[in-house]
C-alpha cells in the first residue's frame, strides 16, 4: 500500500499538466483524499532528523517559521506556492478547523461559523464572545441590507444581546432598525457595501481578536524584517549613508564613510580664510578672507571646486557670508564695516548696507529672502529690507566683536547672542523670550536645518548641543578641539545632519 501510494503523486502531477484546464478541478479533487495520508506521513518526519528548532541560536520554532513564510507567500498573491509549501512541509498555515471557520466566514455561513469557532479550542471566554459578536454583527448588517428586517431583529434579540458584550454598539445596531433605509445604507457603507469585501475585512478583524497561534497575523514576516533593519541602522555608530538598507547583508557604515582625506586645496585668497559656507543647494561654496575679498566657488559634476567669481570692494577683511534662500544672492560682511549684496551669477555688487558711524559685524537672510539681518558694533541688531531701509531694530547686550544670530525656517524665531554667556530665543509672533544660559563665554553658535537644535561653541573649549524645540535643554556636550585665541565654528552635517564637525586651533577638523 505504501509503495502504491508513493507512485500515485508523480503520475497524477504529470496527468494534471497534460490535461485541459477544465479538468484541473477534478485533478485537485483527486489529490484531496491523499492529503490526510500525507499529514500522517509527515508526523514521523521530525524524529528522522528535522529539528523542532531552526537557526544557530536555537530560538526559532520550525513550525512558526514555516507558517509566517507561508503567510507571506499567500499575502504576496502566490497561492500555489503557499499551498505547495504547506503540503511539502507538512505544516499547515491554519488547522483544518480554522480553515473551515475561515471558509464559513467568507461564505456567510454565520451560524456554522459560530459553531466551528467554539471547536477551535480557545480558552479565554471573553475572546470567544468578542469574536462571536463580530460575526453576528456582520450577520445582522447583511440581513438588514437584504431588507430582512425580521431576521435582523431576531438576530439582535436572540443572538447578539445575550452575549452581553459591547452594549454601546448593540444600541447603535438597534438604531439602524429604526432608521430609514437611506440611513441604513449610509451606516452600512462604513463597513463596505460589497459582501465579499466586508467579509474579508471581518476576517482581518477576527484575526486581531483571536490569538496569533490560531491565525497568523498579517504581514508578520515583513514586520520582523523591518524590526531587524531598524535595529541595524540604530546600532550603526557612523551611520552616514543615503543608500537604502538591504536584506542581503547587515547594515554597517564604517569610519571610511566619514570624510577624512584632503581631496582638494583651494588657492586663490592671498590671506587667511575666515569663513566658509556652502549654498543651500550645494552647488556653490563661498569663502571669506582677511584679504578683504570673498570668492564664490562652483562645485562641478566631479565634486571639484572651480573659482567662479572673486568679489572685491570691501575696505576691511570679510568676516562672514550668507546665502540667500534661493542661492541667487550672497551677502558679505566686512569687519566692522558694511554689508554688500552680490549677484551670484554675474559677480556684481547689487547693494551696500551701512549705518553711518557704526560698523556691522554679522549678516544673515530672513527666510522670505526679502529682508536681511545684521549685528552692529553698538550691540544692536537691525532688520533691513532689500533696498536698505531699516525695518526694525532691537537691543543686545553683547560685549564681543562677533555676534552670531539665526532665524528659523518659518521666520518666527530669532536667535541671537545676548550677554557674554546667554543666547536669546525671541518669538516674533508671541513676543515671548527664552534664554539659554551657559557657564562660559559663548564664541559662536549654529542652528540645525530642522531648527530644533543649537550647537554652541564656548570659550572653554567645549561645544554644547541644545534642544530648543520647547524649553531649551542641553542634550550633549563635546570636547577635544583646541581654542585659545580665535573664533572656532562648528556645524551639523552628514546624512540627516547626524554628525557635528568643528574647527580647531591645532589645524585639525573634529
Amino acid at each position: 500500500m505504501g509503495g502504491f501510494e508513493d507512485d500515485e503523486p508523480p503520475s497524477k502531477r504529470a496527468r494534471a499538466s497534460s490535461v485541459e484546464p477544465a479538468s484541473l478541478l477534478d485533478s485537485f479533487s483527486c489529490l484531496k483524499p491523499a492529503a490526510p495520508l500525507g499529514s500522517t506521513m509527515a508526523r514521523p518526519l521530525p524524529s528522522q532528523g528535522k529539528e523542532v528548532m531552526v537557526g544557530s541560536k536555537g530560538v526559532i520554532k520550525r513550525d512558526e517559521f514555516v507558517r509566517i513564510i507561508t503567510k507571506a507567500l499567500y499575502s504576496l498573491g502566490y497561492e500555489k506556492s503557499g499551498a505547495v509549501l504547506e503540503e511539502e512541509s507538512g505544516i499547515t498555515l491554519h488547522s483544518p478547523t480554522v480553515n473551515l471557520f475561515r471558509r464559513q466566514v467568507l461564505d456567510g455561513n454565520w451560524d456554522s461559523a459560530v459553531v466551528t469557532l467554539k471547536k477551535v479550542g480557545l480558552l479565554d471566554e471573553n475572546i470567544v464572545k468578542s469574536a462571536i459578536f463580530l460575526i453576528l454583527e456582520q450577520k445582522f448588517l447583511e440581513l438588514l441590507r437584504n431588507d430582512n428586517v425580521m431576521g435582523a431583529i431576531r438576530t439582535l434579540q436572540s443572538e447578539i444581546t445575550p452575549l452581553g458584550v459591547n452594549k454601546k454598539r448593540v444600541h447603535e445596531l438597534s438604531g439602524c432598525i429604526i432608521s430609514s433605509p437611506q440611513h441604513v445604507l449610509l451606516g452600512f457603507s462604513k463597513l463596505g457595501i460589497e459582501s465579499s469585501n466586508s467579509r474579508l475585512k471581518l476576517l482581518e478583524e477576527l484575526q486581531k481578536v483571536l490569538p496569533p497561534t490560531v491565525m497568523v497575523p498579517e504581514r508578520r514576516l515583513e514586520n520582523l524584517l523591518e524590526q531587524a533593519l531598524t535595529v541595524q541602522r540604530e546600532a550603526c555608530y557612523f551611520h552616514n549613508s543615503i543608500d537604502g538598507l538591504s536584506l542581503y547583508t547587515d547594515h554597517h557604515c564604517g569610519k571610511d564613510q566619514l570624510p577624512s582625506c584632503t581631496v582638494q586645496v583651494l588657492r586663490a585668497h592671498r590671506d587667511e580664510v575666515w569663513f566658509l559656507q556652502f549654498s543651500n543647494n550645494g552647488k556653490y561654496l563661498a569663502s571669506a578672507s582677511n584679504d578683504k575679498s570673498a570668492i564664490i566657488w562652483k562645485v562641478d559634476e566631479d565634486g571639484e571646486l572651480l573659482l567662479k567669481h572673486t568679489l572685491t570692494g570691501h575696505d576691511k577683511p570679510v568676516m562672514m557670508v550668507a546665502w540667500s534662500p534661493d542661492d541667487c544672492q550672497l551677502l558679505t560682511c566686512g569687519m566692522e564695516e558694511v554689508i554688500r549684496c552680490w549677484d551670484v551669477e554675474s559677480g556684481k555688487c547689487l547693494h551696500v548696507y551701512e549705518k553711518s558711524g557704526i560698523g556691522l559685524i554679522s549678516c544673515g537672510w530672513f527666510p522670505d529672502g526679502k529682508h536681511i539681518l545684521s549685528g552692529l558694533t553698538d550691540h544692536n541688531f537691525c532688520l533691513w529690507d532689500l533696498d536698505g531701509k531699516e525695518v526694525d531694530c532691537w537691543k543686545g547686550q553683547r560685549s564681543s566683536k562677533t555676534s552670531d544670530f539665526a532665524v528659523s525656517n518659518d521666520g518666527k524665531l530669532i536667535i541671537s547672542m545676548n550677554r557674554e554667556s546667554t543666547i536669546r530665543l525671541f518669538d516674533r509672533e508671541t513676543k515671548q523670550e527664552r534664554l539659554i544660559e551657559e557657564d562660559n563665554t559663548i564664541t559662536s553658535f549654529s542652528l540645525s536645518e530642522d531648527g530644533d537644535f543649537l550647537l554652541v561653541n564656548l570659550i572653554s573649549e567645549a561645544i554644547h548641543l541644545w534642544n530648543i524645540r520647547n524649553c531649551p535643554i542641553r542634550v550633549n556636550r563635546y570636547a577635544g578641539h583646541k581654542r585659545s585665541r580665535f573664533v572656532i565654528r562648528s556645524c551639523f552635517g552628514g546624512s540627516e545632519q547626524a554628525f557635528i564637525a568643528s574647527g580647531s586651533e591645532d589645524s585639525q577638523v573634529w
Binding site: 587667511e272 575666515w274 569663513f275 582677511n290 568676516m319 560685549s399 564681543s400 566683536k401 562677533t402 557674554e420 563665554t441 564664541t443 570659550i459 585659545s484 585665541r485 580665535f486 573664533v487 586651533e505
Partner: protein, 110 residues
Amino acid sequence: MGLLFVESLPGPKVFKCKFCGVDSASPDAIVSKEFRGRHGRAYLFDSVVNVSLGPREDRLLMTGLHTVNDIYCSCCQRLLGWRYEKAYSEDQKYKEGKYILEKHMMLKEG
C-alpha cells in the same frame, strides 16, 4: 591665524593692552594693587579678557613656590603677566585662579 575672538568690557576706565589697545580687565575685577611683577607694580585681578594661557610651570616667587601660567594678549601675543594655577602655602591659596597684569603693560583710559 584666524578671526580673533575679541571681547570688550563695559565702563569708562578699562585696562587695555598698551600695544594693541584691546580690553584686558575691568577695574571692578581688581583684588589687590600691592603686587610686583617683572617690571614693577602689578595688579591682581579676579578675571581678565582677551588673553591666552602659556604652559603651566612651577615658579619661585617672593611669597613662595607657585604653579603659574604666563598670560599673553590674545591679539598681539605680548606677555602681560601670569595666572596663578596653584599655591603651595596655605596663606597664599586665595590667589589660585586669579591673574596678575603688569601695570607697565597696561593703558588705563580716562
